[in-house]
């Protein structure tokens, strides 16, 4: 019996030992070792990004320009497919059976495929297909429609201002310090890009529990750790949609730019680049194809001319010359120069058109005499106040740049160009130091030569004239979420180096230009327009037609610059367009239907405008 008792004890010891080993092991696994908790989290927690609604965009009058539109993707979870009637399914979707098989093969071969997870079967269903599918959804278990939003542009105007959104690239993801993730959309150009931070809102994160097949099983802790998405802020632009639309209509089938600014605020009323495109081409499933097509278009519709393209300003630059000449004390309203069909100095010859001679300053501007302003330029550069022409040139350049030229002004749109006001070092390089003088660079005096000015800069100069001496940096956004944009860079007055007192006679002269000078076509009965034509020579073809103007003369409401490429005289194309837009903006009526018709109908791009009706569609406004 002693034997039996000890054997019983042995068995007890074995039981208890195993029990203790298990308890120790469990203590280790459950209490001491924390790694299993993390493993468990990784198993079941899935972060789902909740995308906020992107901010809406309005024009200055509250007209909606950009909104978000629902789009419908057809998704499939292969594991849930059951008794699919392939024929009826293909009918609804409008695809062939071969296509159906091809897509399924593609889905199955795609990276990260799981039969338990949803894959996109068809992106962005058209509305009729979506409607038809919704009705029959119950016949196709395993398929469902996922709703996303995409941008929608209300009008096919102002494409270059609006810009577009696109999927992020690896580079963008890298630059964003991990903000963007694969598959996110971001603003690629235009306002969409420059106000990306404002428009995009804040993403939310929803934690969901998933099972071993990655199927969603519910919220984690009833959403305790979830963060809500915050919708993007709505933006009110400075654009006047009606003006923008009207301007685009006038300039259709012509290459060129229009920039209209409200002088007192620097707000851009219209920013037109033609040839243009429908911004809605950048949404939807044809996005990629459309982009490639536009990129290859020889007319370069994607190029944002008004803020990026430098043009030689031509005669409109004479206005700046007149201001600098007065400031430098080499010119006053009585200064007269002789013009014998041009300006001659040694071997240099600058031609001029016939007009009476000699002329003082005001008619000199009105008839846009080349000889006059060559003389002004010479007197500025050869001014005895400066030790040499280089020093005088530096001074001249300083004046010119105080008008916002030769630099980026800081518009709130991407892709702004600098234009060009050549530095003295540039001429040193070409001619050698002290080996150039006024005669070498004489063409600058009439806005030719190396000078490059963007239409935005031209419009800004017009605003300076309207303001008699200062400008506010042009900008495109007026308010964010109803609150007026109060950024110092868009409220500060930048005074030019030319005092306000010198502007009076120039404004008078600009009024003369319209009323009895080169731009009589721009004259209106009730509105005093002050302007200046330009016919900028360019080495690549016919002259550019340039005109800038502001109106009314007192307390101006609009300053506008128009460039029509390779179109000839400023008075022929640019001045009528500017004048019509001024009338439209100030009076909201058009009294000169004949002029409007002439502008709208003119086709300077296509060699045979009558037979090339189809080609217009890209530039044709919707309304």
């Amino acid at each position: 019996m002693i034997d039996a008792a000890s054997k019983r004890v042995t068995l007890y010891i074995i039981f208890v030992t195993i029990g203790l080993i298990f308890l120790l092991r469990l203590f280790w696994l459950q209490v001491v070792d924390e790694t299993y908790v993390q493993f468990a989290r990784n198993n079941v927690l899935n972060e789902v990004v909740v995308y906020p609604a992107r901010g809406l965009v309005y024009d200055r009058n509250g007209q909606l320009l950009i909104y978000n539109d629902a789009i419908y993707d057809l998704m499939v979870v292969p594991e849930r497919l059951k008794d699919l009637d392939t024929n009826s399914f293909c009918d609804v979707l409008g695809i062939t059976k071969e296509e159906f098989i091809r897509r399924f093969t593609k889905i199955k071969n795609s990276k990260g495929y799981s039969r338990y997870r949803a894959s996109v079967f068809e992106k962005q269903l058209t509305i009729p297909v979506y409607a038809a599918f919704q009705e029959k959804l119950f016949d196709f278990p395993g398929f469902y429609v996922e709703t996303r939003t995409d941008r929608k542009y209300v009008y096919n105007n102002a494409a270059h201002v609006m810009g577009y959104i696109g999927e992020v690239t690896d580079k963008i993801i890298e630059q964003s310090n991990g903000y963007y993730r694969m598959g996110d959309y971001y603003g690629v150009s235009g306002i969409e890009r420059s106000y990306e931070d404002v428009l995009r809102g804040t993403r939310g994160i929803k934690y969901v529990l998933v099972d071993v097949h990655n199927r969603t099983q519910g919220r984690y802790k009833d959403g305790l750790f979830d963060t809500a998405s915050v919708a993007g802020l709505n933006i009110t632009t400075t654009l006047d949609h009606q003006l923008q639309e009207y301007g685009e209509k006038l300039i259709q089938n012509k290459r060129g730019s229009v920039v209209a600014i409200e002088p007192s605020t620097g707000e851009i009323l219209a920013l037109i680049s033609n040839p243009t495109y429908d911004p809605n081409l950048f949404i939807g499933r044809e996005r990629g194809n459309n982009y490639m097509r536009l990129l290859r278009d020889p007319q370069k519709p994607l190029f944002n001319r008004p803020i990026a393209a430098p043009y030689p300003p031509g005669s409109i630059f004479k206005i700046i010359m007149a201001l600098i000449g007065q400031k430098e004390g080499v010119l006053n309203e009585n200064t007269s120069y002789y013009c014998g069909g041009g300006y001659r100095m040694g071997s240099i010859k600058v031609g001029c058109h016939p007009h009476s001679s000699p002329l003082p300053l005001r008619p000199g501007i009105a008839v846009s005499c080349n000889a006059y302003f060559c003389n002004v330029y010479r007197s500025v550069i050869d001014n005895k106040r400066y030790p040499n022409s280089e020093a005088a040139y530096r001074k001249w350049r300083e004046h010119v740049m105080s008008f916002g030229l030769g630099q980026r002004m800081g518009i709130d749109l991407p892709g702004e160009g600098m234009g060009n006001v050549p530095s003295p070092e540039y001429y040193d390089k070409i001619y050698g130091r002290y080996h150039w003088k006024s005669s070498t660079t004489i063409s600058l005096g009439i806005g030719q030569g190396e000078l490059g000015i963007t239409p935005l800069q031209m419009a800004n100069v017009t605003a300076i004239l309207a303001n008699r001496g200062y400008y506010i940096t042009p900008h495109i956004v007026k308010a964010i979420e109803g609150t007026k944009l109060n950024r110092p860079e868009y409220t500060k007055r930048h005074y030019t180096t030319v005092d306000t007192g010198y502007y009076g006679i120039i404004v008078d002269a600009m009024q003369d230009v319209v009323e009895r000078g080169t731009a009589r076509v721009a004259m209106m009965k009730d509105i005093i327009v002050c302007g200046k034509t330009g016919t900028a020579q360019n080495p690549h073809g016919k002259d550019h037609s340039v005109f800038f103007a502001f109106a009314p003369r007192d307390n101006p409401k609009i300053a506008i610059a128009v460039v029509v490429e390779n179109a000839g005289f400023g008075a022929t194309w640019a001045a009528p367009i500017a004048s019509l837009m001024i009338e439209k903006y100030l009076t909201d009526t058009i009294t000169r239907a004949w002029l409007e018709e002439r502008m709208v109908k003119a086709d300077l791009i296509h060699p045979k405008p009558v037979t090339d009706e189809a080609g217009k569609s890209a530039a044709k406004p919707a309304h």
Binding site: Q30, Y36, A40, H213, Q217
Partner: protein, 424 residues
């Protein structure tokens, strides 16, 4: 006489009965938690395994009641017959079953499946008890030895043929019974030691293991320096162990690489989270993430969302570990140990050998299941699929364990009317 053999409620072992009820109830609730789906939220939904388990519990309760009402001599009388029937059924299942997970172990009757291997356990236990309780039985008799070996090995061999290794290994547990009934202690010791050293030989580098063993041997020699016999024994054990280690080493390297990998994963030397090691890894995550107090009822994400395979059957302990934490797991472990000790106490208080031997059989079988099952889920033992008694989902195993336990309770309840040493 009739009255004596009637069930006497005051003689039922209420502690064992209570533990049984708690286990079955806890098992049912844990099965519900493990396979819970919001679509089938009712624990009584018989389309789900928890609903089905309730049916099995009902059937088990009915059978348990029947057992308690049957005459206590019935089990002795019918033990050989039951044994024969079970052997026949287990052979039949080889020919009349579809393959499920590589095993031919299931009869399919409508939507229910029965596993005859489960029922062979109590039949074998009864037969072993009856044979060994014979008045002239002695383990020292070679002939009797062979009979005992045959009684144990026959169902084991048939079940191995079904490719159900886990169930076959359960019959190894009878070594405890034999130990109690006269098997020398050293055989049990060597049996256990060989098992442990075999596992260690694969886990620890063999040279290190040999040095440790030599160290232990030297210590033993120092302690036993007065006994020449003892020193010789130590030397013999040491040489046997080194031989075993080298042998296992050799066998291991003769294995195919993928087989070596599987063994390594089972032993935790290598982590293959997608393949062979997946089950154990997920099981450890589920249990380990339970923490001290657990995540709470139906909050166990790892088991609920199917990360743990076989979560309602072989890995049911994961649900306990995850939802009730270290505290809940400890309660379960301690209750099992209490049950085992109680079963030994019951066995030892029997007045005849048949009852006692049967009692030891019950304790050994349940202990073996417990050890292998829990050891597997917490990564201490290789994955051998056998159920956790009373907890795991499955009608065959629940009914079988119920029958196994209630026969003992029935025998125990009428022990006072039986003559000491009587063999009917």
């Amino acid at each position: 006489m009739k009255q004596e053999s009637q069930l006497q409620s005051q003689h039922i072992d209420w502690l064992t009965l209570l533990i049984y009820f708690l286990f079955v109830l806890a098992g049912w609730i844990n099965i519900y938690a493990a396979v819970y789906e919001a679509d089938h939220a009712s624990i009584f939904d018989i389309s789900q395994s928890y609903g089905k388990q309730l049916i099995w519990i009902g059937i088990s309760a009915f059978i348990a009641l029947m057992i308690m009402l049957v005459d206590d001599k019935f089990f002795y009388a019918f033990s050989y017959g039951l044994y024969g029937l079970m052997i026949v059924l287990n052979i039949a299942v080889l020919f009349f079953s579809k393959e499920v997970k590589g095993a031919h172990a299931w009869f399919e009757i409508g939507s229910f499946r029965l596993q005859p291997a489960e029922f062979a356990k109590f039949a074998t236990a009864l037969t072993l008890a009856r044979y060994m309780s014979h008045f002239d039985f002695s383990l020292k008799d070679k002939k009797h030895w062979w009979y005992v070996a045959a009684i144990i090995m026959l169902p084991m061999a048939v079940i191995l043929a079904q490719n159900d290794t886990g169930s076959a290994l359960v019959y190894c547990s009878f070594i405890f019974v034999l130990y109690r009934e006269g098997l020398p202690g050293w055989i049990l010791f060597i049996g256990l030691a060989l098992g442990i050293i075999s596992v260690l030989a694969l886990v620890v580098p063999s040279n290190v293991l040999i040095y440790i063993l030599i160290g232990l041997a030297l210590l033993a020699v120092f302690l036993l320096r007065t006994s020449k016999q003892g020193m010789l024994l130590v030397a013999a054990v040491l040489i046997t162990c080194i031989g075993l280690i080298k042998g296992i080493d050799y066998l291991f390297y003769k294995l195919q690489p993928h087989q070596q990998q599987r063994v390594n994963v089972l032993l935790g030397k290598e982590v293959d989270l997608k393949g062979a090691g997946y089950n154990v890894h997920q099981s450890k995550i589920a249990i380990g993430s339970g923490g001290l107090l657990g995540k709470g009822f139906l909050e166990g994400t790892q088991t609920k969302f199917n990360f743990v395979p076989e979560q309602s059957t072989d890995f049911i302990f994961c649900t306990v570990g995850e939802e009730y934490g270290f505290v809940g797991s400890s309660v379960l472990i301690i209750m099992f140990i209490v049950l085992f000790v109680r079963l030994i106490v019951i066995a030892e208080r029997q007045r005849n050998r048949f009852n006692r031997i049967y009692g030891y059989c019950v304790a050994s079988i349940l202990f073996f299941h417990f050890t292998i099952n829990i050891g597997m889920t917490i990564g201490l033992l290789p994955v051998i699929g056998i159920p956790l008694p009373f907890f795991s989902y499955g009608g065959s195993s629940l009914i079988s364990f119920t029958v196994l336990l209630f026969i003992l309770l029935r025998l125990d309840a009428s022990r006072v009317y039986q003559l000491r040493g009587s063999i009917y």
